[in-house]
């Protein structure tokens, strides 16, 4: 009997991990649709290709080396992870199956990489992007992930990042920022006189669908990060996480709506979508400690931040077609820094420290990799290819190829 019950707990926790993982895997489709909706149709097939393949590469690289680097046989509190391949062996008395743990972790890597594809859309070479994907998902992410979730020095330093506002989202944004700096803006985005020329995305229903998918998948992202559900305390915790996650997204959307209405007199749909995502990213650093009301406030603040952040990046001529830097970077940072407000176990100092370490490392490591790719094979398509659209050049097919006059 005793064993049966223990195994039953093991089974439930494993099942909970797997279902959470499926929801996070689904976020890959969310990013694909969001980005496909926010680029011009001449670059749509290419961004779809990037999103499918980055997910595939992330899953393969994390299986081959990444998971091992991040989680297996590492020393507690260290800087350097042990090196090795594959996923190790099931530990005695583990709470859930090793494979389910891998599955839940691997989909996070893909999320981090999906953030990059949006920011560099419409101008980065397909193959440069894919090569970078190999490095980020196989090495850079696992390394910095080890520092906190794998038991490395950041976890010892008291840095607290429940489901990855920093480790996943801000890290993805850091890699994206490095790329955007080397890459430059899309042709025609900024006038010589400093003016901003908006380049509207081609398909709002896709962008909205993508956002809904992400919102849905986030319940797995944050809900699964409690890691256990099979007793009352953990189950209640997961329940609260769902509630808070949803609440922060909701108020993020509402806040972005209100700001855009006050500033421009209109309901700016893509800002609202970004507002919901901003709320989600911000609450991800700690969806468990805040009360639902506090979660609402965190989401709302993130929704305001994201609007101003997007406008500011544009003023700085940092061209980010989908707002990834603002949503995942700026709001990820905000999420980290707001943790101590509701979580006594975290301090502003340790949060700042962790954020600086993660951002600094991922940004510099990425910059290096991007730079090497740039000087060897190049990272940007030619102006002519950019004008004609990436689809024809990289994929040889258009997203909507029917004869349109």
């Amino acid at each position: 009997m005793e064993t049966t019950v223990t195994e039953l707990r093991f089974a439930l926790d494993t099942f909970y991990f797997l279902i959470s993982g499926v929801l996070v895997m689904w976020m890959a489709a969310g990013f694909a649709m969001l980005e496909a909706g926010l680029v011009r149709s001449k670059n749509t097939a290419e961004i779809l290709t990037k999103n499918v393949v980055l997910y595939a590469i992330a899953c393969t690289m994390f299986l081959l080396v990444g998971y091992n680097i991040m989680y297996v046989d590492n020393s507690a509190g260290g800087w350097l992870p042990s090196l090795g391949g594959l996923i190790g062996t099931q530990a005695e008395g583990a709470d859930h199956s090793l494979e389910s743990d891998f599955f839940f972790q691997v989909v996070f890597v893909a999320t981090a990489m999906s953030i990059v594809s949006g920011a560099v859309a419409e101008r980065m070479k397909l193959w440069a992007f894919l090569i970078f994907t190999v490095f980020l998902t196989g090495f850079i992410y696992p390394m910095e992930g080890y520092w906190t979730w794998g038991g490395g020095f950041l976890s010892e330093a008291g840095f607290s990042d429940f489901a990855g506002s920093g480790i996943v989202h801000m890290a993805g944004a850091a890699a994206a920022l490095a790329a955007v700096i080397l890459l430059g803006a899309r042709r025609g985005k900024y006038g010589k006189d400093g003016s901003v020329h908006p380049i509207p995305g081609s398909n709002m229903p896709l962008a909205t669908l993508g956002t809904f998918i992400l919102w849905m998948g986030w319940f797995g992202f944050n809900g699964g990060s409690q890691l256990l559900i099979s007793d009352a305390e953990n189950a209640s915790a997961v329940g609260l996480i769902f509630l808070n996650t949803n609440a922060a997204a909701a108020t993020g959307a509402i806040a972005a709506l209100i700001v855009s209405r006050l500033k421009w007199g209109k309901a700016d749909l893509t800002m609202i979508l970004n507002g919901a995502l901003a709320g989600l990213v911000a609450i991800t650093a700690d969806p468990l400690s805040p009360s639902p009301l506090v979660a609402c406030v965190i989401g709302a603040i993130a929704g305001v931040i994201v609007v101003y952040s997007i406008v500011t990046f544009d003023k700085l001529k940092i061209d980010d077609p989908v707002g990834a830097l603002s949503v995942h970077g700026v709001c990820g940072l905000f999420g980290l820094l707001v943790v101590p407000v509701s979580n006594d176990g975290a301090s502003l100092m340790s949060q700042l420290y962790g954020a600086a370490v993660i951002f600094g490392f991922v940004f510099l490591a990425s910059l290096l990799v991007w730079y090497v790719i740039k000087v060897t094979m190049g990272i940007r398509v030619t102006a002519e290819e950019e004008d004609a659209g990436m689809d024809i050049h990289d994929c040889g097919i258009e997203a909507y190829p029917e004869f349109k006059s």
């Binding site: 901003v196 020329h197 908006p198 380049i199 509207p200 995305g201 855009s260 500033k263 421009w264 209109k266 700016d268 893509t270 800002m271 970004n274 609007v307 997007i310 406008v311 544009d314 707002g323 006059s405």
Partner: protein, 112 residues
């Protein structure tokens, strides 16, 4: 023969088509165009940046007719397409030297 080209507001298409048919014209070719003229465009907003959209959706009708029908046709179109507001559109009349019906090879007035 003449080739009439009319630029009208999109939602007037059905009325204009009926008006054209009612005076016995049997064929029209229609396309969607964007027009720029005295009628003001509007401001759009995308991710916090506003921009001016000057080109407004219009519909273009091309109608080949015998010279003697031109007047009635212009009359019919102007009446049907008129809303009295700026942007109602224009009619252009150009010479048309020959018409061929592809199916039969018939020419000119037989081809219309």
């Amino acid at each position: 023969m003449k080739m009439l080209t009319a630029i009208i507001k999109p939602f007037k298409l059905d009325e204009v088509r009926e008006a054209v048919m009612s005076i016995g014209i049997a064929g029209v070719t229609v396309s969607e165009v964007k027009g720029f003229g005295r009628q003001k465009g509007h401001t759009e907003l995308y991710r916090g940046a506003e921009y001016q959209v000057d080109f407004l959706p219009k519909v273009k009708l091309e109608i080949a007719v015998k010279a003697e029908d031109v007047e009635r046709l212009v009359e019919a179109i102007t009446t049907a397409a008129n809303t009295g507001k700026v942007g109602d559109g224009k009619i252009f009349i150009q010479p048309l030297e020959q018409v061929v019906r592809i199916r039969t090879g018939e020419l000119d007035s037989e081809a219309l």
